[in-house]
């Protein structure tokens, strides 16, 4: 028993509670008796709705009667702590609280930015400035020879050498039977991968036009590929990507608005930076 008590007394949590209690006593005395409104906690229908909504968003169902009682009890507990903590000023100088409050104001400014609508000219300028974002990937046309599921690298190299030496040869002499398309017309990277499997396009991306290259691995096996044509990237017209440009414009605008909002708030404060002599000398 004695041992337990000693251990308890060494427990930091206990110290915390003791100090908290002390602060509370001092604080309560300093603030005088609390007003009756502050002592009143009302659980009305709106509160119950809010609590069940929160429950629902987590559990995807409404709480049953027992769970709801528990939710309400927990809410009251939280409210009691919350009010007393505020009364004691425990919110002050708390890093998490400070961060959260800052977030809340920033969120307000971000939300207002989402309501902004660019003028036609603003949008055009933004689109021109950031045209790189609205490029369409290059399309490629190519033909392929299927060498089977897992040909030896030597035989793949030999096949490639033959094709390079005789670019006009009948490629079906080398090809294993496959139902894969032997050729694709100009197609976007995702279209190519949709047929031959993910990662196929990446392998042929750098292949020059008109030269048999490879081997390339698809979802089905090994291939040699001759790119027939590359259609350069194109800038998608503004009408086509308007929605996207507006979204990007808003995102950038939100950063701007947030800064402006901060500067406006900042201007209301008189900030004095008081530093020791030596440090001050170093500041530019």
């Amino acid at each position: 028993m004695h041992q337990i008590l000693t251990r308890l007394l060494r427990e930091p949590l206990l110290h915390f509670f003791l100090i908290a209690g002390l602060i509370y006593l001092i604080g309560a005395r300093a603030d005088g008796p609390t007003s009756p409104e502050n002592d009143l906690i009302v659980i009305d229908e709106a509160r119950v709705v809010q609590l069940s909504r929160q429950f629902n968003s987590v559990w995807q169902r409404q709480p049953d009667a027992g769970e709801l009682d528990h939710l309400i009890a927990e809410y009251i507990r939280e409210e009691v702590y919350y009010r007393d903590a505020l009364a004691l000023g425990l919110d002050r100088n708390d890093a998490i609280v400070r961060q959260r409050l800052r977030q809340k104001l920033e969120f307000l400014s971000d939300t207002s930015a989402q309501l902004l609508e660019p003028t036609g000219q603003e949008l055009q300028e933004y689109y021109t400035q950031h045209s790189a974002r609205y490029q369409r990937d290059a399309k490629r046309a190519f033909e392929q020879v299927y060498l089977g599921q897992a040909p030896s690298s030597a035989s793949a190299e030999a096949a490639l050498a033959r094709l390079i030496a005789h670019p006009d040869m009948d490629v079906s002499m080398l090809a294993e039977r496959t139902m894969l398309p032997a050729e694709l017309r100009l197609e976007l990277p995702e279209g190519i991968d949709s047929v031959y499997g993910r990662g196929f396009f990446e392998q042929i991306r750098e292949f020059p036009v008109g030269v048999w290259s490879g081997p390339v691995i698809s979802s089905y096996g090994t291939h040699l590929v001759r790119v027939l044509d590359i259609q350069a990237t194109e800038l998608r017209p503004l009408v086509e990507v308007r929605e996207l440009v507006v979204r990007d414009w808003r995102t950038d605008k939100a950063i701007e608005v947030r800064e402006l909002d901060y500067q406006t708030r900042r201007a209301r404060f008189d900030v004095q930076i008081v530093l020791p002599e030596t440090a001050e000398a170093d500041t530019p």
Binding site: V49, L68, M179, L186, L188, R198
Partner: protein, 645 residues
Amino acid sequence: MPRSYVMLLVLAVLLMAMPAAAQDAGHASKETLSNAYTGSAYSPYAGRHFPERPLWGDTHLHTSLSMDAALFGNRLGPREAYRFAMGEEVIASSGQPVRLARPLDWLVVADHSDGMGMVTDIAAGKPDLLAYEQAARWYEGMSAGGDASVAAALDLISTFSQGKMDPEMFALYSPGSKLYKNLWEQVVADAEAANDPGRFTALIGFEWTSLVEGNNMHRVVIMRDGPTRARQVVPYTTQAPVGSIDPRDLWKYLTNYEELTNGDILAIAHNGNLSNGIMFPLEKQWNGKKLDDNYLTQRNKWEPLYEVTQIKGDGETHPFLSPDDEFADYETWDVGNLDASVAKTDEMLAGEYAREALKRGLLIESKTGTNPYKFGLIGSTDSHTSLATTEEENFFGKHSGYEPKAGRMTHPFMKTENGEIIGWQMVSSGLAAVWATENTRAAIFDAMQRKEVYGTTGPRMSLRMFGGWDFTEQDLNSRIPATVGYQKGTPMGGDLRARPEDAAAPTFMVYALRDPIGANLDRIQIVKGWLDADGQTQEKVYDVAWSGDRTQDANGKLAPVGNTVDVANANWINSIGSGDLGTVWTDPDFDPEQRAFYYARVLEIPTPRWSTYDAFRFGEDLPEGAPTSTQERAYSSPIWYQPGS
């Protein structure tokens, strides 16, 4: 020579035959014309206008704008649905992040037209609505949470299905109201914003939700056109005074749309399996009136496709109808009609399934000259979560109440005194593959119109089928078989060309390739339906290509491919089956006097069903009756043969 070339030539000859036609190109001579039509071209893609790869999509996706979807907790609108289909990660209504393994190429957001947007507005407590007693009551209930909100949702459903909605309030969410028109404009605008020709297509559409005493006659309506035409109408509904539950009235709406806007539109029916026999009538319409000429021609005209597989059951055929087809009983839902208010009887089945309907079509055509059921086949999801998930390992359920969570498999999906459907019976199906020349609204719609489409139960295996009179093994082994396919024959969805006198039987070049990230193939089958000499419809399933060195037994039966599914770990390997299959098949039982259709069915090797993944991930037992593995499949559109053609 491709048909388009022949057309061009004919056109050119016609033009030349008109001396008065002032042309700037100069006089045409044999030399100049032969320069223009050299036959073989230097450019490898010149003259090749046929589609090279299937474009994958879903014709039938519901968002929170559908009343029932919102009631079951869907909070994602069309924008989220498009983003998800394009491959972006979204947060599902249940709060879980979700993403597709691969993006879709196109999507139709097809929300229920009746009361579109109403429930989301009630839940949000939209002021215009709260003036109505019902809306205020439901809003209060929904906000109250707990049993009150469930009760409110159920009350709303039963009030609607009994036709007891406050007519004035419901009119706000019906054709004729400004609110409804604005809502439709937003639907169209969202599609337009997502539409990115060449990369992703957002076709504009809606679902017409006709229900006759619980018997399903739903149709998805799809437009070929963009906003300019789509905005000239609002969706067609089933509720009076504007709407109707009679398909003939829907066809009138479609006719009117094309006349008014000069656009193009079509309708796709689904879930005949929940229609209790009225989806594909043989003699009488749903209201007891005889099938007349108008019904037959209109149905043939407006309904070129049928959605053969989706979450609420697979609708190719039923074991009762196809007792000799060992794969007939696939994801069957045959408890009753849509709300299980009336139990199913065997007599109803013939009016419910695609294969039987195709057969009935031949019979009706032989008597009247018109085939009302000359449709191609697609699959789609009918998902109500705004999430077009068909992958077994990534299945987000029929509606938001069945998004992944422990216990969803054993929760009753539907339960009446007639029987019940349990959660595990939801089907993670299907997808629509379209052989379109490019990824645009026009090209996709046109492929649907010519039925050059097929359906799968989720995987993206590629499937080609050509019918002709003289296909050879050599054609299949040529470097680009499709070139020969189009030259010598008809692709899926078409009619066999006129039979040459010396042709004994039609030949079909059919080939399939497994999904690049999916399972190997077990076999390709040809399903033939025909009308025999006695005027009776018949069917037969032929195995035409299969993996490995299996042989058919004396009865023509092929041994099963095997099964690599590790149920406990929800895993499988591609050590059996074949990456691709193909053959040229000649009908061994052909009779030139008998009309017939042929479609291909491709089976994958067994892979874990979604319920097996659920059991593994949630550490649950598999529910009784749930198959551990599934042989996913593709259904091609048929090719038809007509005697004397």
